[in-house]
């Protein structure tokens, strides 16, 4: 396929996708069970953005950073603080006399500010922390995220952050297209960065720091750059998440949240943007929608289905993740990215692959047999 044809195909696919979402949104009523689809699309897009930003640092630059929830928190708060309408501030900041900030900024500006504030924090944190390596960096960034959470709940900062109370009544979007388009643009920018000269430098650092430095790549500068850019988009993701949730509270941004993104990145494939995006939609769909029935007590006639009760969903979810990790060691996509050629090839090979499944299943015991034969030979 020629390059132009691929471009055209991509544009058509994106336009078609947006059109379908638009039509579905107009036709599916809010009360329908299918309205969960929009939760998945909205939250999935936001998670995809944050997962891709985390992949930029962890998968492409090779830094083990676990501060994502902290940067999202900063972004979410920055966004909320600047967009609560002035007349509502007295109600929101009821314990703090209406708060300190007494103006409202346009939404787009606030989202950008959310990103920039997160990036500024990342810059300051990065100065000492990025001199650390691997596990130590992970611990330091994780600690940072927890500290940020504690600080935002601190009562003395109440006039700005509303202490440990909710922030609410800020501007939220009204169409699922909003977060999808916003996240799409952000992810596109990250992909452009990864495919640029700087992206190659990041990959070089991941591959071999010493060699990268000997090739004239300033390690600290490039690590800092990757970290700050990643945090910028995590901040934007936080702002969008605030819009999705309509209220925010610092206590929700726990370390467990970072682990969710880590899980998405690992399942999708370290170093694959496509993988992160696919994995986030799957993750959100499983958690919010497809596995919900496991949490509900179910009766078939008079028979109560065993095991199904609140919390069982998480057990099944954990098993699914284990299976994925066992069968796809490098994640769903490995380090591959989406391409039309690969997609067409996949569909062409699909019938062949499906046919070979019974054979492969039959083969599983053989694998063990062969092994035991070898062992027998050795024993002889």
């Amino acid at each position: 396929m020629s390059k132009q044809k691929k471009w055209l195909l991509s544009c058509i696919a994106i336009a078609a996708f947006l059109a379908i979402v638009y039509v579905l949104e107009a036709t599916i009523p809010k009360s329908s069970q299918w309205s969960m689809l929009f939760t998945v699309l909205e939250k999935g897009s936001i998670y995809a953005l944050v997962a891709v930003s985390m992949n930029l640092v962890n998968g492409f630059t090779g830094l083990f950073s676990l501060g994502q929830a902290g940067f999202m928190l900063i972004g979410a708060y920055a966004y909320a603080i600047f967009t609560i309408p002035v007349e509502q501030r007295a109600a929101v900041y009821q314990y703090f006399d209406g708060g300190l900030v007494q103006f409202t900024l346009p939404v787009i500006v606030s989202i950008l500010i959310a990103g920039l504030v997160a990036a500024a924090f990342a810059f300051l944190i990065g100065l000492p922390v990025l001199r650390l390596k691997s596990d130590y960096l992970a611990i330091a960034t994780l600690g940072f995220a927890e500290i940020i959470r504690a600080i935002f709940q601190w009562n003395t900062l109440g006039p700005i952050t509303n202490g440990s109370n909710l922030l609410r009544k800020f501007y939220t979007y009204d169409s699922a297209l909003y977060p999808i388009i916003a996240c799409g643009i952000c992810i596109a920018i990250i992909v452009l960065l990864i495919n640029s000269s700087y992206g190659r430098a990041f990959k070089a650092i991941r591959e071999d720091e010493i060699a990268a430095e000997a090739m004239g790549i300033n390690l600290f500068k490039h690590k800092q750059m990757s970290f700050v850019i990643s945090s910028f988009f995590a901040g934007v993701g936080g702002a969008l998440l605030a819009m999705f949730q309509t209220t925010i509270q610092a206590s929700a941004f726990k370390a467990a949240m970072t682990y969710e993104f880590l899980l998405i990145v690992v399942i999708g494939g370290m170093g694959s943007v496509t993988g992160s995006v696919i994995a986030s939609y799957l993750f959100i769909a499983c958690r919010e929608w497809w596995l919900r029935f496991l949490d509900a007590e179910t009766y078939i006639g008079d028979f109560k289905v065993p095991l199904l009760r609140a919390g069982f969903r998480n057990v099944v979810f954990a098993v699914i993740i284990m299976i994925i990790v066992l069968f796809y060691r490098k994640g769903i996509m490995g380090t591959n990215e989406f391409s039309w050629d690969a997609l067409i090839r996949w569909f062409k090979n699909l019938p062949k692959n499906i046919k070979s499944i019974p054979g492969r299943i039959k083969n599983i015991p053989n694998k063990f047999k062969r092994k035991s034969k070898k062992e027998a030979q050795i024993n002889e």
Binding site: S197, R200, K203, E213, M215, G216
Partner: protein, 279 residues
């Protein structure tokens, strides 16, 4: 000497804790010369290399490149009491750049154990080295406002790969290349940073005699083609004696001899260091 110095290392001492790895080492490389550094295992050759390339800041001493002081240090802090070397008060400045700054000045290196970006393509390996001198910033690069620069980088990379006979493998993953070609790719990658001085750390390690013969010719070739000076560490005596114009010999961190290959071969101290001496 009337010839132009490219590299001048003066009184470099590298002390790790109480161990003096390189002691008062001085040397120079002239323009267009191929200079060798030999010595038994653990003599401090690679440490000397690492001092020049900025991996370590020497404890004491000074390194000049094209007449500019690029590295300079003297024992300070805790090291002041522990220092066992000489020339303590000779150098006052502290200049300790990171390796990337040294590379930017025009000193490129290869590694004793090959360090390629192993899961990236051969083309990308060389292209990454072009990042150093590219006129761009992260904004122009991301939004593709640097098309000309990017095109130039790609063209230069392709030309370099062709010259090195690696263009057939350009889309292969670097780690899938045979050993000899990986060595060659590492040299190509170093050349992509437009160096004036190339440091080769055991370029013939792990090669069979035929391959190292080829390498000998290759090193001479790139010296002429890219107008380089070359400084290399090597164990293969045949190779060192064959291509080096001057040789330095280190033993236990101390320079025990210098001169042309003939002088070195007949130097009793060198023979003693390598073969031991009759009791």
């Amino acid at each position: 000497m009337s010839k132009e110095n490219v590299l001048r290392v003066s009184d470099v001492t590298m002390q790790f804790g109480g161990v003096v790895a390189v002691n008062n080492f001085s040397m120079e490389v002239n323009k267009g010369e191929i200079v060798g550094l030999i010595g038994p295992n653990g003599a401090g050759k690679t440490t000397a290399f690492n001092c020049i390339t900025g991996v370590y800041a020497p404890t004491n001493g000074q390194i000049e490149f094209n007449g500019e002081v690029i590295v300079s240090n003297h024992p300070h802090g805790k090291m002041k009491q522990m220092y066992k070397g000489e020339n303590m008060g000779k150098y006052n400045k502290i200049i300790a750049p990171t390796p990337d700054k040294i590379t930017k000045k025009g000193i490129a290196r290869t590694f004793q154990n090959i360090r390629l970006f192993s899961s990236l393509s051969v083309f990308d390996n060389v292209l990454i080295a072009k990042h150093l001198h590219a006129k761009q910033n992260v904004f122009t690069a991301t939004f593709r406002l640097n098309r000309k620069e990017e095109k130039r980088m790609r063209e230069e990379t392709m030309a370099l790969l062709k010259e090195q006979g690696l263009d057939k493998f350009k889309d292969d993953v670097a780690s899938s290349l045979p050993y000899g070609l990986q060595r060659r790719l590492e040299i190509a990658r170093a050349l992509a940073t437009n160096p004036k001085l190339l440091l080769l750390d055991e370029p013939a390690a792990g090669m069979n005699p035929q391959e190292s013969d080829e390498l000998m010719g290759f090193i001479g070739e790139i010296r002429d083609k890219y107008d380089l000076s070359i400084f290399l560490i090597e164990h293969h005596m045949q190779l060192v004696m064959g291509i080096c114009e001057r040789i330095y010999v280190l033993d236990y961190g101390i320079k025990i001899a210098e001169g042309n290959p003939e002088q070195i071969q007949n130097n009793p101290r060198v023979i003693e260091a390598y073969l031991g001496v009759d009791e």
